[in-house]
């Protein structure tokens, strides 16, 4: 009987561990990614960087995303999250925008980020 109890406990612990690892890695490993595309599709080119550096007036980027419409589209939700991370400069790809006011994520139905380089 105690063997069963121990086993059940271990299984429950594994389940908790599984959730913990993934929730943690979702936030902790945000920016850790490699762009494997040959044309570097997900990386800003030198030219784009240079242009962004050369602009001396504030750039305002507004990102609209409806959480309620994408409720059963995890692919869209994932993409929106990545766009948002890029805008907030946490993606590792688009960190050319120095300071963005990162608002809380859970504000439906739209969110906006402002940049002032």
């Amino acid at each position: 009987m105690s063997k069963r109890l121990l086993g059940a406990g271990t299984l429950a612990a594994l389940l908790v561990l599984f959730f913990a690892i993934n929730i943690l890695s979702n936030t902790a490993l945000r920016g850790a990614r490699i762009d494997l595309t040959q044309d570097k599709l997900y990386t800003l080119s030198e030219g784009a960087r240079a242009i962004a550096r050369g602009i001396d007036e504030p750039i305002s980027l507004t990102f609209y995303f409806s959480r309620s419409l994408a409720v059963d589209r995890p692919d869209l939700r994932g993409r929106a999250a990545r766009v948002q991370e890029a805008l907030e400069g946490r993606s590792g790809f688009g960190s050319f925008i120095p300071s963005l006011s990162a608002r809380r994520r859970s504000r439906p139905p739209r969110r906006a980020s402002r940049a002032s380089p």
Partner: protein, 245 residues
């Protein structure tokens, strides 16, 4: 701790090729991959130099073929009684669990690499992004590993291979579509929103699609790694619990 890992791995891997399992699996996998790509995926008609149609079929191919591969991992041993022999051999239990899984995984990856003519074809006909193709192969291999680990647990739970197959199929289907409404609606009624969001993040499909776009993110690797680790761990626990019953 992992004494005998190599022996279990080699024994299992050769086991596939001694029986017709390997040949039937590989042939069916390749034929079905071709059917999905060229007939259903309309790869030639699309006239695009990528392997999207090919890789988009993989989750659904694996859904049926991987449980067929994993169902025998433990259920067969238990049915034929050889599990007693295996567990009394000087092989640690983790080595047996990991060795069997690695052999099945190596076999699945072998079947996957045998699809290389598609890669040659697309490079002959056009000028595809080979970085994306490499990433897709990697993602596909990882997804196969995830499915196999789930199947390994289901095979350890039951003595019957048929039940193991059906349980793995359902579990893999749930993992594939976590985040889509059939699975989410099941949890939405009673689970807190945080849990529902976490489950939505467990979809094999979205993680695979992210990787196969050519974007290799650490969290996708961690996800598949944790699926494999946790399900193999659970397999070991279940085998220990069922010992002597």
């Amino acid at each position: 701790m992992l004494r005998g890992l190599r022996a279990v791995f080699l024994r299992e891997l050769t086991g596939y090729f001694i029986t017709p399992v390997a040949y039937v699996f590989i042939v069916i996998f390749l034929v079905m991959a071709g059917v999905f790509t060229f007939q259903l995926g309309r790869w030639f008609q699309a006239e695009q130099a990528d392997l999207r149609a090919f890789f988009d079929a993989h989750p659904w191919l694996y859904l049926f073929l991987i449980p067929a591969l994993s169902m025998r991992l433990w259920a067969e041993e238990r049915k034929s009684g050889t599990i007693e022999l295996l567990l009394t051999l000087p092989v640690s239990r983790s080595a047996a669990v990991i060795g069997k899984f690695l052999a099945a995984w190596a076999f699945a990856v072998l079947a996957l690499t045998l699809t290389f003519p598609v890669w040659i074809t697309v490079n002959y006909l056009g000028n595809p992004d080979n970085g994306v193709i490499l990433a897709s192969y990697l993602g596909s291999a990882l997804m196969a590993g995830g499915f196999l680990a789930v199947g390994s647990l289901m095979s350890a739970i039951t003595n019957s291979q048929v039940i193991a197959f059906i349980l793995s199929l359902v579990a893999c289907f749930a993992f594939l579509l976590a985040g889509y409404s059939p699975v989410l609606e099941f949890f939405q009624g009673w689970a807190p929103q945080g849990i529902v969001d976490a489950i939505a993040g467990f979809s094999f499909l979205t993680h695979f699609q992210t990787i196969s776009r050519g974007e290799l993110a650490a969290r996708d690797l961690v996800f598949f790694g944790s699926v494999i680790g946790v399900f193999l761990g659970a397999t070991g626990v279940v085998i220990e619990m069922k010992k002597g019953q």
